[in-house]
Amino acid sequence: MGKSKSNGKLNRRNFLKIAGAAGITAQVATVPAMGFKEGQSTDTYLGWESFEGDTQFFNRKPFEMELSKLYKEYTPKVGKSSRPDKLTDIAWTRVARLGGELKKNPNWKPGDGMEKLNLPPDLNEWYQHWTKTGQNRFKTDVETATVGIPDWVVNNKKFGTHVALTNAFFNAWADIWDDTYPSEPTAPPEVSDFEVSNHGHKMDIRDLNKSRKEHGALMNFKTPDHAAKLIKKVAHQFGSTVVGITKLNPDFVYKKGVRGVKGNEPFDVPKHWTHAIVVGVPHEWDQLGGNPQYGGSYDGYARARMAASRLTIFLKQLGYPARQHVPPFHYDVIVPPIAVEAGVGTLGRNACVITPEAGPNMRMAVVTTNLEMTVDKPIDFGAENFCQDCKICADMCPSQAISHAENTKGMELRGYQHWYMDTSKCYNYWMEALEPLGCRLCITNCVYSRKNNWVHGIGRVVDPVDPTGLMAKTLLWMQKSFFELPEAKKFRKPPDGCFASYRQPPEWLRTETWFTAKTINPQLMCSKI
């Protein structure tokens, strides 16, 4: 047989075997280091590493569908559609109004019932609607206003220094809307959307276009396709990680209180809001795992806001009316269904838009305009089915705001059937977690919210084209078996919880790393819970 005839001498064959063994040793020894490097690499921080279009790397074409299919199979229209209302549908506005009513009736007690509170008709109707569906949102909102918010103030005094660095970091991002950049519209859409600033002078786009027309210089696009391509290119340059375009569905425009008009009067959807451009950016990836206590929303908000605002100005400079609808609360439209129509992603169990690139870790803004552009189509890349089986976000939600239902049957919101969350319960935990405000746990723990490295890339590429569903099942099993998933109650305030976070925050975001200030870390209590 092929025994070496070398008798221990270093002949060619022995040399090759020794060199081969050394090569295998070198590869096996260094491959872990390369893997570790990949895991740490900031090059995988999608949306924070590049301002070029390559951040939108997922090829949506094979997964596109017609809008009619979306509203037949995925988000069926099951009732009469109605436009959302800022005063009732937005949780913090609603709870603030309820808090005002409670102040007017200091002797009212929860046992007295909602009727004795004499709520304004719209608020009363809204609570009645949800009570009929089995969700006592009134009770939750009362709890938030009377217990949650006062406790939140106390807890932030006690533990505030521990999260002071996080708070400073995110409040710095929030600066742009504290100082209201971009400036809020001060006139109705028919006026303000047409205002453009030229070397410090405000001009009406219609006048600008008239003058350009006289010189044969109207900025008419060659085709709608050219318009869509340029807008997407520029949106990426302005900082957007993903971009999608759709025609504006009036069902997703608030029915009252358009910005730029005082009061809260009903308004018709402006005629020049024919198209919607959706831009999105993810949160900074380092801090994402630190949610709810060491994360924040303001970085994503600020960047989405900037991208949309610059795009608005760009459109106006070209001669097209435009208005930005931006986080945190400067909207005339609701973003998620528009993003779904624009093919940016699909609606997940956590009521967030799940994008193929970064899952629900995508903060979005919308620009409405009348520029004729080729529109994108909704997509189905498998997240819908995945959400039905997964339920990690629902299991881990501290306030149980996310449904555990097997599917969306019976879940109707303003005429459409789709995943939604109990916004009262969600906001209840917002006003429990330490500052900076909010939770974001369902963004953090979603299996699609993963950095852009090759390990997660395999899942992103293979799962959407796997007809057997085996990949999805394997990934879900691995997620639940291998990864640490803290219990929901641990996220709550003491004594029920210990203000846990999904993962520990990065070193650079910990007060204790840099400062001598005395801090109390509530998570030291976690082992006792």
């Binding site: 047989m1 060199a19 570790f36």
Partner: protein, 103 residues
Amino acid sequence: MFFGVFDLTFIYWICFGIVTVPIVLGAKEWLNDRGILMTWWKWILLGGWYVATLLAIAAAFVFLGEGEPGAWWKLLFFNLAICGVTGLIVYRLLKLRNIPSQS
């Protein structure tokens, strides 16, 4: 960046490719010693298993780099177990349809 120094990744992969040459040649000799006659499909099978094993090891360490130590060791043991079992299967397959070595 490579370990925070400068970008050596490109050089690493060149070295990786160079090192692969003696690995293949050495494997050929080693298999020959054991009377295993390699055909094209056996090379693909063995190469595929080797690459998959390296990726499996690297994948576990990606999670360590991402700050998921729990997932790291669980996935590492899980992957190594799978690679071990598939390695034995691959070795059995390599021994199929052999003729005595001429060396």
